[in-house]
């Protein structure tokens, strides 16, 4: 574990901003995540939620704003691999597409082992043991960890991706639509794994999603993003039961659930799509 930091937040973002050409993807985002917490960033495509996540892990360079993880500043992408490795021990990420989240030529066990070599000083035996521990944590057995990725289901691959991220013992795990591409029965299994992992390791989640029901199941707090800005924030239960912002209300009303009927909104000219069309 990197230097324990019980009191202060494990992740702090202030005034984060990003533009692509003349399109403002992220316009002034602030958020805070405490140790062991679970914060959702909800929004539709083009809301900027994924860009925020990519900036936090250094895959995208912010135009402005400050990012601090575990008390260390990471507003600018790391200059060296050593710096990236140190930051890898603070924040990790699991992506959406299960079919390209693993190197097709590398077994799950060796993928996790490769991270252990980067982040720990364990010897070969120690690493093997730790790989088995991590596999158990995400509900995978010896055989599955040795199988070629192409033989694993989408759900199993995402579990490997989670185990690989946990191998770096991060304080924050960003889940960027990590269960969006999974079938319902498999999604449930992975959500349960996430619940177990959080209980056992105390890792904090930054959960990027467009799915409000999944957000309710996984997170304690939520920020709702639209057009690159946060339009509402608060405890997940409160925001979903009594949304204050009209957009959050619209989002909630659009989610199919028992007894729900789709209602056409006032605007007939599809402006909403025209707005999105520009992105």
């Amino acid at each position: 574990m990197t230097t324990p930091d019980p009191r202060g937040p494990v992740l702090e973002v202030e005034g984060l901003r990003k533009t692509f050409g003349d399109v403002v993807a992220v316009a002034g985002v602030d958020l805070t995540l405490h140790a062991g917490g679970a914060l959702a960033v909800v929004g539709e495509s083009g809301s900027g939620k994924t860009t925020v996540a990519r900036m936090i892990v250094g895959l995208e360079r912010p135009a402005a704003g400050r990012i601090t993880a575990c008390g260390r500043d990471r507003s600018r992408p790391a200059r060296s691999a050593r710096e990236r490795r140190r930051r890898g021990g603070e924040v990790q990420i699991v992506f959406q597409d299960p079919y390209s989240s693993l190197d097709p030529r590398q077994s799950p066990a060796s993928a996790v082992e490769e991270v252990l070599r980067l982040h720990t000083s364990l010897d070969a035996a120690g690493r093997r043991g730790r790989v088995a521990e991590l596999a158990g944590l995400v509900g995978l057995d010896e055989r599955q960890m040795a199988a070629a990725p192409s033989r694993l289901s989408g759900g199993q691959r995402q579990r490997v991706a989670i185990a690989r991220a946990l191998a770096a013992e991060p304080r924050v795990l960003i889940l960027d639509e990590s269960v969006a591409a999974l079938d319902v029965s498999i999604q449930a299994q992975v959500l349960n794994v996430l619940a177990d992992v959080r209980e056992r390791t105390g890792v904090a989640y930054l959960f990027i999603s467009h799915d409000l029901a999944v957000v309710r199941q996984v997170t304690d707090d939520v920020v709702v993003m639209r057009g690159g800005a946060i339009v509402e924030r608060g405890p997940t239960a409160r925001v979903l039961d009594a949304p204050a912002h009209p957009y959050t209300r619209l989002l909630r009303e659009s989610v199919p659930r028992p007894g729900w009927r789709p209602a056409r909104r006032a605007l007939r000219t599809g402006q909403d799509d025209e707005l999105k069309e520009s992105r």
Binding site: E44, S45, G139, S153, G155, Q156, D183, V184, S185, I186, Q187, A188, Q189, L191, N192, V193, A195, H210, D211, L212, A213, V214, R216, Q217, A237, L240, D241, L250, L251, R252, E253, S254, V255, P256, R257, P258, W260, R261, P262, A263, R264, R265, R268, T269, G270, D272, D273, E274, K276, E277
Partner: protein, 338 residues
């Protein structure tokens, strides 16, 4: 029940995959009355999309089918040339990914008016007038400008509305919608589904709505069929599907979906993964994953039999009545994850 518009009886489809013939649909039976909306729900590999494509004979090359599909009393399999083309104007289809399903190098106008100009010999101007009117109905303003645009200049939501407009322009009797909103944002989805539902009812169109989202199907369909591993597991009035399912798989599917209203400590997840028809074991395909399975379930494949106003393909459906969901909708069946 007025005469059904579409009758699918014992449909079994085999596809050549890497040299061997593999079943993708196994004895699927389903009927749709004129003006009725039927949902077809299932996870990956369930065969829901293949069923829709079989109806208009759009199966991949080399596919072999058994069983019969009757549309307005005629056997679809025997239709050739002009008769088959007539069927395909009477049955319109909307696909999941509009960007792939609309010719990218021709204008939106070409796409919308091609059907009219080909089948009804309408002049380009007359066809375009009609197209603009229907575009307005699907919520797209300035139709004339849109006709001159190309598909890549429109957002996913707008392009899907164009596809729906094109389907309506053919004035079909049956609309097959294969996951039309899966690629769209949830707010756009709600808008597109509301529009599809409203226009369908106005035109008394029958609808076969394919989706992986149980609640979405229930919201727009009178009845919903649940498919698993190429088989129909249950057909049920949509209103009862969530609260009083007949088949353990439907209950498991509904329970596995997190609720918008409350947070469960752990979701009742079903172990294993959804199987495709050719991976299914003998007996009930859901047997290996079913919490209520008994030995009988693994021997014989259960038939789809009428039960409580719907149909279910489960040997223990009768005795499980009422046990699949407890009072507050929490499923009785509970598993710790594998």
């Amino acid at each position: 029940m007025n005469a059904s518009l579409l009758d699918v009886e014992g449909l079994t489809v085999f596809l050549p995959v890497e040299g061997e013939e593999r079943p993708v649909l196994r004895d699927v039976s389903l009927s749709i009355a004129a003006g009725e909306a039927v949902g077809l729900v299932g996870e990956s590999g369930s065969g829901k999309s293949m069923t829709a494509r079989a109806i208009v004979r759009l199966l991949p090359p080399g596919a072999r089918t058994e069983g019969v599909i009757r549309y307005r009393g005629e056997d679809v399999g025997s239709l050739r040339g002009a008769a088959l083309r007539a069927l395909r104007t009477d049955v319109a289809m909307v696909f999941q990914d509009p960007r792939a399903h609309v010719n990218p190098v021709r204008t939106v106008g070409d796409f919308l008016t091609e059907g009219l100009r080909t089948h009804r010999r309408l002049s380009r101007r007359a066809a375009e007038e009609r197209a603009v009117r229907v575009l307005d109905e699907v919520g797209i303003a300035a139709g004339a400008r849109r006709l001159r645009q190309y598909p890549h200049e429109l957002s996913g939501g707008l392009l899907q509305r164009v596809m729906i407009a094109a389907a309506l322009l053919a004035e079909p009797r049956l609309l097959l919608a294969d996951e039309p909103t899966t690629a769209l944002d949830v707010t756009t989805q709600a808008e597109v589904m509301a529009l599809l539902d409203e226009l369908r009812r106005e035109r008394e169109l029958a609808l076969l709505f394919i989706t992986h989202d149980l609640e979405l199907a229930a919201a727009v369909c009178d009845r919903t069929a649940v498919m698993y591993a190429g088989r129909v597991m249950e057909v049920r009035a949509s209103a009862l599907l969530h609260d009083d399912p007949l088949h353990p798989y439907t209950a498991a599917l509904a329970a596995a979906r997190p609720s918008l209203a409350r947070r469960a400590d752990r979701l009742p997840a079903t172990p294993g993964r959804p199987l495709s028809a050719f991976e299914a074991p003998p007996g009930c395909a859901f047997g290996p994953r079913c919490a209520h399975a008994r030995d009988a379930c693994h021997e014989r494949r259960p038939e789809l039999l009428p039960l409580a106003g719907g149909q279910a393909a489960c040997a223990r459906a009768e005795e499980l009545r009422g046990l699949l969901r407890d009072r507050n909708g929490k499923p009785v069946v509970s598993h710790d994850h594998a």
